[in-house]
């Protein structure tokens, strides 16, 4: 089995120095890898990322992350990413990482993702340039996720998609339906289903619910910390007999 610890929306601020370390240092007792589903920082300031990086520096398991919308707020996403990568965290954006976990090989592909909405209630790449740009970004990020999943080697025993925005509306239950188009896109689910993964993780929807399913039958978990109400959740996956969506 492979044990994944996952959390999103940590929203680290400079005042969080020294407060997250105790949670993560013991993660090796419960999990083989720690996944961070975006919104690592509150305002997207490199100083906030450096605080989080120091908290993660001694985590004794591999850490894999994607950025979220908050990490872009200060227009310094590259510096945020660099600060986190500086302590050995794999930060994914349209790429993937493969990790040996005991006798198994775990493949993780990640993107931030974007909004756009869900089947029957989604935006279309039509009309004003602003609307086209909005939907284009959503489509392109989903395309990058699918390509990254496709690059994972067949040797991977388990494949996980890590996002910030949600691929399904299931895990948004509790959020006002009117804002669902700003919380995720079905294009992410379509990418996940086409590529075939064992688990899809996301954050972003603080008032949502934890559990959902794509149309293709892939389990989805919303690991936004306000949903979990814990430092992280541990998911146990079993490489043999895992389900691949058609």
């Amino acid at each position: 089995m492979i044990r994944l610890a996952a959390v999103g929306d940590v929203h680290a601020g400079v005042e969080c120095e020294g407060r997250l370390r105790s949670s993560y240092q013991h993660v090796a007792e419960r999990a083989d890898v720690l996944l961070l589903a975006g919104d690592l920082t509150r305002c997207g300031e490199p100083s906030e990322a450096e605080v989080l990086a120091r908290e993660l520096a001694d985590v004794p398991v591999p850490v894999v992350a994607v950025l979220g919308n908050h990490d872009h707020q200060a227009n310094r996403a590259s510096a945020v990413r660099a600060a986190i990568e500086n302590v050995g965290v794999h930060v994914l954006e349209g790429d993937a990482v493969e990790l040996p976990i005991g006798e198994w090989r775990l493949g993780i592909a990640g993107v931030k993702g974007f909004g756009g909405g869900f089947l029957g209630r989604c935006a279309t790449e039509f009309g004003e340039p602003e609307m086209k740009a909005f939907v284009r970004h959503s489509r392109e990020t989903a395309d990058r996720l699918e390509a990254a999943l496709g690059e994972l080697s067949p040797a991977c025993d388990l494949r996980v998609a890590l996002m910030h925005y949600s691929p399904v509306a299931d895990t948004l239950q509790g959020e006002p339906p009117e804002i669902h188009p700003f919380l995720g896109s079905y294009l992410l689910a379509e990418a996940v289903d086409r590529a075939g993964v064992d688990l899809a993780l996301h954050g972003h929807a603080h008032r949502g619910t934890e559990r959902g399913l794509t149309a293709g039958g892939v389990r989805v978990r919303n690991v936004a910390q306000p949903v979990l109400q814990h430092s992280y959740r541990v998911y146990v996956l079993h490489p043999k007999g895992t389900k691949r969506a058609a």
Partner: protein, 91 residues
């Protein structure tokens, strides 16, 4: 002759709540999109989760400054920093 316009109520609870939500998102002290804001008459209610006690206080401060003199009631909780929640076995 101009048509007489009906009295319009523009200072509604809904507009006031949205103004506070917008300020919480954009004010560098808050930068919170996930805080619930409701206004009922002379009262403003805050809810949701934030990462730290300092952040909760910052949000409450920004909301109070922009509450238009309303009484601010905060149910914001600070997310626990613990050793993780229950394990889920996915078979």
């Amino acid at each position: 002759m101009m048509t007489e316009r009906p009295d319009r109520q523009v200072d509604t609870d809904e507009y006031a709540a949205q103004q506070v939500r917008n300020t919480l998102a954009l004010d560098g002290r808050g930068s919170e999109l996930g805080v619930d804001v409701r206004v009922v008459g002379r009262h403003l209610y805050l809810g949701g989760s934030v990462a730290s006690v300092e952040q909760r206080e910052a949000v409450e401060r920004v909301a109070t400054e922009n509450a238009g003199g309303r009484d601010v009631h905060s149910d914001i909780v600070v997310v626990a920093t613990d050793e993780g929640g229950d394990e889920e076995d996915l078979r």
